[in-house]
């Protein structure tokens, strides 16, 4: 069955251009809500969302929580420290206990790839992946694409360059899946030790030379060097990385004047991105954050609406008609 709206949002891999388009179009309308004097609509009144964060997060977590509150959903936050997870409870038990309290959505961030998929197969509640290991971070991918679409309109044929630790980056993976589906030309760039083998199979170009990678790019997505995921050393030093792959003022001269600079945050200023570039007028980094709330509102709204629809067995034709905006 070709469902336009799924029960869960686990990743952008395999999602159609139409589905991505529906989420982004819905997000356009939700963006305005955050500008209102009363930043709240009653759309998800009575729905319960649990934010289950097994890894630290400021932006994603605050963004999801604000999205939930602005839709009038009730939300509960659980983090690893201070929960029974610290006592050794399994993920499965934690999730099943939460579902026993009749929740509608679980937003999960976990260090292991596939954790959200495991929950999705187990629970009736909708599951939203807020980052699973080095696998995917679909809402980040969607908000990056939303920001690009806002600035560049059609992404077909646009060159987007992702720079940094591609191998360990879930942001890179979600961006690649989404952007390639929408017809963008994606180039990845970073030290060869950070480029996974066979990445070209995903439909991207690999370029280890920064200058060539950023030439004619319409946007750069500068990834954070994730020191916490670096179990072995993949480059000699941070200074060396900044020297070879850091985006700084001198290197802006290599770019098209219209090229946008994105960063998923948190930034290591002076490493992958210099102070002046991060605060410069090409950077759309804070706009990404603003858009993140709208995109997450759209995702939560569509998932809750989709779940509602699945429960429907019979559809009353007259109710259908009343719901149409045209006929009354």
């Amino acid at each position: 069955m070709n469902r336009q709206i799924r029960k869960d949002l686990l990743g952008l891999e395999g999602m159609s251009a139409k589905e991505i388009g529906l989420i982004l179009d819905t997000a356009v309308s939700f963006k305005e809500i955050s500008e209102r004097p009363v930043k709240k609509v009653p759309a998800l009144r009575g729905k319960t969302v649990v934010n289950l964060f097994f890894e630290p997060s400021t932006r994603t977590r605050a963004s999801f929580e604000l999205a939930e509150k602005r839709l009038s959903a009730d939300s509960v936050n659980i983090s690893k420290a201070g929960s029974s997870v610290a006592k050794g409870e399994s993920l499965r038990d934690t999730a099943e206990n939460l579902e026993a309290m009749k929740i509608d959505v679980i937003v999960i961030r976990h260090g292991s790839a596939g954790a959200p998929h495991f929950l999705a197969s187990l629970l009736d509640a909708s599951v939203v992946n807020a980052g699973d290991g080095a696998h995917e971070h679909p809402t980040q991918g969607l908000l990056d694409i939303f920001t690009l679409r806002e600035k560049l309109e059609d992404l077909k044929g646009r060159k987007i360059t992702i720079i940094g630790d591609i191998a360990h980056s879930r942001v890179a993976r979600s961006n690649i899946f989404g952007l390639v589906t929408l017809g963008a030309r994606v180039t990845v760039c970073g030290p060869p030790t950070m480029i996974p083998p066979r990445i070209n199979d995903l439909g991207v170009e690999v370029e280890t030379n920064l200058r060539r990678a950023v030439e004619d790019a319409d946007a750069l997505n500068v990834l954070r060097i994730q020191l916490e995921r670096q179990k072995v050393s993949l480059f000699p030093s941070l200074a060396e990385y900044a020297n070879v792959y850091g985006i700084n003022r001198e290197r802006l001269a290599w770019l098209k004047p219209s090229c946008l600079i994105m960063h998923p945050g948190p930034m290591n200023r002076g490493v992958e991105i210099s102070q002046d570039v991060a605060d410069g007028d090409r950077a759309v980094i804070l706009e990404q954050v603003t858009n993140g709330v709208a995109v997450r509102m759209a995702v939560l709204y569509l998932l809750c609406e989709g779940a509602q629809k699945e429960k429907a067995v019979e559809v009353d034709e007259m109710e259908e008609e009343k719901a149409d905006s045209r006929t009354f």
Partner: protein, 185 residues
Amino acid sequence: MGFEAKATIMDGDQIRRAVKRISHEIVERNGGVKKVVVVGIRRRGVHLAHRIAEYLERIEETKVPVGALDITLYRDDFQVTRNIQTRPVVGTTEIKEDITDKVIILVDDVLFTGRTVRAALDELIDFGRPKQIQLAVLVDRGHREFPIKADYVGRNVPTSDTELVEVRLTELDGRDEVILGEMRE
């Protein structure tokens, strides 16, 4: 299954006259348009709101602000099933004015159960505290489920509850008309 037209309730001329009359009534009742903001309910209400604002500007020779409301997120039938074809895509609300102390003319094409207007009132109030909200509709077809009454009505049309009223406007449908019909198997 489809919509089967039975009669034309209003043609283009009648719609034009009704909108013009409503505009004159708005001016008369409010002693001008000084504090008036016209807000249409998406989708057809917005086009009617623009038409009314245009008449108001012509009559009073002052600019009248127009806004648009998308009430999808304020609906009370989120829990009621709707299929993908009729499910309204969430549209954008545009209220650029500060509506506090203003007289809002809320505009919709058809007044039926009153549920859409209820949702619109809730949404409007989230934008500020208007001095008054008045309701203008092109067609009132009865069958109210809420205590809601229009202040300005283009035409009252008695209908049975299985009948449907379809408003077509040039901006969206290529021509102006109001059709009474029924859903047929």
